[in-house]
């Protein structure tokens, strides 16, 4: 079991009048090599779930085992290492660093990992070639279209070869054509063995995932596999 969360709560302003239960007792298992879509309306708690799965946030209550390790016990530094090695993030807003070129953005997680310069270059080239942007490596994010920026973000997420890709509304800021291109890249990664978790509010995108988890009001409403045409 790669991801195993049990009775996870995320409660803001607990005990106060304006208490908000963003996650209200969520339990979930995801195996290595799955493609899972988490679907819900905005405010359903899906982004909070993604933040907790990505170790960007810590649950108020509940257990989270990632690859057998209890994440809730980890220090700030250990959590940084988990994010660096285990998870590749793809955000709706791309979240590239504007001062750095495409190459440097992709290189950054490898630098934090302490990878040697020669290997870094290989991996950055590999990652950028997989999103067909090697020839654009010197461009700054502001000099690229949204679709290109998201592909740089994907390259950054896969450069460290993480077992999990967490994509939060990756097509939300893109037109349907470039969005489809981004989804194709995620499917390819899945076929190569990476665990892909796709968070979306769009049912048509969810319909193309082999497993769909529906979330509403901080609780899981449905969790079922489905047939997809691209497999």
């Amino acid at each position: 079991m790669l991801i195993d969360i049990k009775d996870v709560y995320k409660i803001y302003n607990e005990g106060e009048e304006r208490e908000v239960r963003a996650l209200n007792g969520v339990s979930l298992n995801i195996d290595r090599g799955e493609f899972v879509a988490v679907v819900g309306q905005s405010g359903s708690g899906k982004s909070t779930l993604m933040n907790i799965l990505g170790c960007l946030d810590i649950p108020t209550y509940g257990d989270y085992h990632l690859d057998g390790q209890d994440v809730t016990d980890l220090t700030d530094k250990q959590l940084s290492h988990v994010r660096n090695k285990q998870i590749g993030f793809i955000f709706q807003g791309f979240n590239l660093i504007p001062a750095l070129s495409a190459y440097e953005n992709v290189e950054l997680p490898l630098i934090y990992q302490g990878v040697k310069a020669s290997i870094r270059r290989e991996r950055v080239q590999d990652a950028l070639e997989r999103v067909s942007l090697w020839d654009r490596r010197e461009h700054k994010p502001t000099e690229m279209s949204g679709g290109q920026q998201q592909r740089v973000a994907i390259a950054r997420a896969i450069a460290t070869h993480p077992p999990i890709i967490l994509a939060d509304e990756p097509t939300g800021a893109l037109d349907s054509k470039t969005g489809k291109h981004v989804l194709d890249i995620l499917r390819r990664l899945y076929k190569e063995g990476t665990t892909v978790i796709l968070i979306t509010h769009d049912n048509s995108i969810a319909a193309t995932a082999p497993r769909v988890i529906r979330i509403s009001d901080g609780q899981i409403m449905a969790d079922a596999p489905q047939e997809v045409d691209w497999l």
Binding site: G54, L56, D76, K77, R83, A99, G114, R156
Partner: protein, 425 residues
């Protein structure tokens, strides 16, 4: 993550904000330049003042002593003092009468009577009466010819030695050695010329008076008899003022104590009633010391004022780092999301602050050097460079300010939860 990479990243993020970074640096540049210029300027004025004082002679002890019974041309008091001081040759550099007279100096058509008293470039020379040790007591060195000797003094020789400016006034570029000048009509042969006691090229507008230090003619003190015989009324009475030059300030103290006892028995002491003479001993060392203290206080004050501007510059850096952190909260969130540790973020912001201060520091030193050259040339008339200590010290301070003022924003930035930081716009 290694240091080289961190420095590269910091350089990139500074490079992306050139305009603002430069404005931030301006505080450090101005502060540092001000410290360097003011401290060097103050130490320059101190140094110049000390040099001028030394040119007049340090460790000088002024002695005045006379007996009521003395005749006008009696030099028994000086002879006794001269012989007494020779016994202390481990402490004493020299001893000489310190007397001047208003004789009219003439050489060919040039006369001190027709010289211009309103201008230090044409002011007539002073006429000094001294012993063979006058030069040793007054920091004068022979440039041409020879100095007075003991035999010149003892033999009442009618010879004279010129100060550099006096030689130029009367002889311009001609060789004065062997020429005869008259003092109140009495002829004296020029036997030598002294070097400049004060380097005139370093004098400022306010210090023109010091040119007189080079503008004098020295006669043996025994020449007073010849001048008397020449029938002049302009020669002052007999010599009562002497200068004893000590080897160093410790020797000066010792000599003063010994002279006290010697003069008490030689000329008596009015205070004790055995009054057949009087004496007084005075040293200007204490005056030099207090002047030195005053200029060091001035130096500290100027340095302090400049240091305030440096601190203001440092606060400017802290301010800009805080703004930068707030602006870059999202970037910090991204970095943490992709695996930056807390220490990576701290080091990154610290290095950015240090680079701003370091580059600002180097520019500040350059501006400070240029400013020091200009200010010292314009006001003191000398070329002065900041000392190694003040340069290194102020650079270390500016980088130190970067660390101190960069630390708070860096710690603040690194403590953010990634999810909160990512939410920032």
């Amino acid at each position: 993550m290694n240091l080289k990479q961190t420095i590269k990243l910091a350089a990139k993020s500074i490079g992306a904000r050139k305009g603002r970074t430069f404005l931030t640096m301006l505080g450090v540049i101005i502060g540092l330049a001000a410290v360097i210029i003011l401290v060097t300027y103050a130490s320059g004025t101190t140094k110049q003042m000390m040099e001028l004082m030394q040119s007049m002679g340090t460790n000088q002890i002024q002695v005045s002593a006379y007996k009521w019974s003395s005749r006008q041309d009696d030099d028994s008091v000086f002879n006794a003092l001269y012989n007494y001081c020779r016994q202390m040759d481990d402490l004493v550099v020299g001893v000489t009468p310190s007397q001047s007279c208003w004789a009219t100096i003439q050489y060919g058509a040039k006369s001190s009577r027709t010289m211009d008293y309103s201008d230090y470039d044409h002011y007539p020379p002073e006429v000094y009466l001294g012993s063979d040790q006058w030069a040793a007591c007054n920091n004068a060195k022979i440039a041409k010819g020879r100095d007075l000797t003991y035999l010149d003094v003892q033999g009442n020789n009618q010879v004279c030695v010129l100060g550099s400016r006096a030689a130029k006034l009367f002889f311009n570029y001609a060789d004065p050695i062997g020429e005869t000048m008259t003092f109140d009509g009495v002829p004296f042969t020029v036997i030598g010329v002294y070097d400049e006691r004060v380097d005139e090229s370093t004098l400022t507008e306010d210090n023109q008076w010091y040119k007189q230090q080079n503008n004098f003619i020295l006669l043996p003190y025994t020449a007073i008899r010849a001048l008397k015989v020449g029938g002049s009324s302009s020669v002052s009475s007999y010599s009562t003022d002497f200068v004893v030059k000590a080897k160093n300030s410790a020797a000066s103290q010792e000599i003063q104590a010994r002279l006290e006892g010697f003069l008490k028995t030689l000329v008596g002491d009015a205070k004790t009633g055995s009054s057949y003479g009087s004496y007084n001993i005075y040293s200007q060392d204490s005056y030099i010391d207090s002047t030195k203290e005053a200029s060091q206080a001035q130096q500290a004050l100027l340095g302090g004022i400049a240091a305030i501007s440096l601190i203001v510059g440092g606060i400017g850096i802290m301010n800009i780092m805080l703004v930068t952190v707030t602006e870059r909260t999202r970037e910090i969130g991204i970095r943490k999301a992709i695996g930056a540790e807390r220490k990576n973020i701290i080091i990154q912001f610290l290095i950015e602050a240090c680079m701003i201060c370091g580059i600002g520091g180097i520019l500040g030193i350059l501006v400070g050097y240029a400013g020091t050259l200009i200010v010292c040339k314009q006001t003191l008339g000398i070329i002065l460079l900041p000392s190694y200590g003040i340069t290194v010290g102020s650079f270390v301070i500016s980088v130190g300010l970067g660390i101190v003022f960069g630390l708070y924003p860096a710690i603040k930035a690194s403590g953010l939860q990634p999810v909160e930081a990512l939410r920032a716009e």
